[in-house]
């Protein structure tokens, strides 16, 4: 791309980048489940996107390009955090404090907790498909894995969630009408 073309499209680029920030944050949050880490990841992504704007050849592919950068930032973060584990199989756990146990009373927290305990690779694929609606091919490109692996990780993730959340249905929701009564 020549410099003139880049300058011409720069406002569009920056506008789209600003518009994408909440979406990047949501996915980043679903990967790390920590507001400060998600914020840092998105900030790094935005900085890298601005620095490397020249490498984006097709503005229509900006979404997947940005999520690729986010995935790289996440990978870097995990590498710094855990030097020895296979990051794709790393299971994240949350400390179960009394405050958190109380928080878990609501479904959103329980679902997020269930997603948080999925192996990282499964969680990453699940978020990109369910929250962002990327195709399997796009996810494969963003994460840098074969499409078949995307499908198998997604399937394993959903199976694990279904098992956990069906138990939740039996134990927490159907026996506790509070959630329904509150909104009547």
């Amino acid at each position: 791309m020549n410099p003139l073309e880049f300058i011409c499209r720069s406002p569009t680029f920056k506008k789209q980048l600003a518009e994408m920030r909440p979406r990047l944050y949501k996915v980043a949050y679903s990967w790390c489940h920590a507001a400060d880490v998600a914020d840092d990841l998105v900030q790094d992504t935005v900085i890298k996107a601005l620095r490397n704007a020249h490498s984006l050849r097709d503005i229509n592919k900006m979404n997947s390009w940005l999520f690729s950068i986010l995935a790289n930032c996440w990978r870097d973060y995990l590498r710094q955090r855990k030097q020895t584990d296979d990051i794709d199989e790393c299971i994240f756990t949350n400390d179960d404090t009394p405050e958190f146990a109380q928080e878990r009373q609501n479904i959103t927290d329980i679902v997020q907790q269930a997603v948080a305990t999925l192996p990282q690779g499964q969680r990453q694929v699940l978020s990109l498909v369910d929250l962002e609606g990327f195709s399997y091919a796009e996810v494969a490109e963003i994460v840098g894995i074969p499409s078949g692996t995307v499908m198998s990780r997604l399937n394993r993730a959903r199976k694990a969630l279904a098992e956990q959340l069906l138990e939740l249905k039996e134990e927490n929701v159907l026996t506790n009408g509070t959630h329904i009564r509150v909104v009547k």
């Binding site: 944050y25 959103t108 997020q112 609606g133 997604l154 399937n155 279904a162 329904i180």
Partner: protein
Amino acid sequence: MHNDPKYSDEHLNAFIDNQLDTAEKAELLDAVRHDAELSQRVCKLQKLHNLIQLSYQSVEVPEQHKEQNQLTKPTKFKWVAAASFLFAIGSVVGWLSHQTISSNSLIEIAEVSHNHATTNNAEHWKLMLHVSTAKPHRLNIVLDEAEALLEEYANSSRNLELEILTNSDGLALVTNSGKDYNKRLQTLQQKYANLAVMVCGQTLKRIQHKQGKALKLLPNTSVVSSAINQVVKRQQSGWSYIRI
């Protein structure tokens, strides 16, 4: 979840995620029509997908949290309640989706599922279409689907109650701004008495507070206390629910 010799979980996932080609989708839709168990499997996957979406709906960048703290807290609470409700219901007629699956397929499955679930009242279908985006192509999808359904049911002996619910950026559909989709919606409202249009009172309040003036809505638009209350209320009354 389990694997069917013909339709594996991977295949159903691909269907939910709109990764199948037209022929494969048509084949699966046909199978769903005749197989209640398969329909339940598809519904279960769709519900899981919905639950994950709903559970991250309230996640916002920290700056926005600070600015809209008072507004987002009750909203979050209500989405939590909605997520609870979606999970609590045992019926298969509660649906929520996004752009990954074509709205056409989704509506068809919702209708089939409704028929599987309510054999006594299959001739009367109550459907809510929920839109929360201002993207013109998505608004037009809502109108295309609504128009097709209203026309189809008008020409049959079956009854349809259709409600279009808007919240967040989806208010663009009902704002009297002279856009083509505004005019289309008005025309549909004039033509079909069984079409109701609702707007989320919480979103309306937030926008009016931000703009410092009243928002002009299309005639015959009803304001409900909040979108999520309306979704829960309708689902409790056996309505099918599709988010486009």
